[in-house]
Symmetry: C2
Subunit: 102 residues, 2 copies
């Protein structure tokens, strides 16, 4: 599974809130929201503008906006230089699927 | 309850998909995603740039991005002139709370 589109990141107000998977959102963990990948899937997210990448675990659902493919935790966003821009193009590649998922 | 912030709207690919409330997303209905209001709450969404407003029912959760307060269905977005801009400032006002909700 690979996908290209735009990424944004969680506002700090979500700190301590429950995600769709049941896990609590923590800005310092490398997690993300994706609309279809099973919870627990590990995805490599690459920012082609600076060639930086980060691996994140899918723990939540979203985003809804057109062209948007993933919402990153603050730590993951910082790793790929997304915090200043707010939104940036990314490439996604699943590096570990959940057992039993397609 | 009143709130100000930015609104975006659902991509068309969500047509027929289940929302967090269990209801199916339909672009032609006036619905929205909000992070805290109970499902079923009716909210008036006003675009101060053109003074247009629409009433929507909360059926889903989201958005995550900073400053973003609501994601509108396509029909609701069109009513307030949001489709071209993609994102716009809005004001929210609850006009009918769910019974028993605070």
């Amino acid at each position: 599974f690979t996908q290209a589109g735009q990424a944004s990141y969680y506002a700090d107000k979500f700190n301590g809130k429950k995600t769709a998977s049941g896990a609590t959102y923590r800005p310092g963990k490398r997690t993300a929201a994706h609309n279809t990948l099973p919870f627990g899937t590990i995805v490599r997210v690459t920012n082609p503008r600076n060639h930086r990448s980060v691996k994140v675990k899918i723990t939540d659902r979203g985003p809804h906006a057109k062209g948007r493919v993933i919402d990153l935790s603050r730590k993951a966003a910082r790793r790929i230089g997304l915090v200043q821009a707010g939104v940036a193009p990314v490439q996604l590649k699943v590096v570990r699927a959940m057992p039993g998922s397609r």
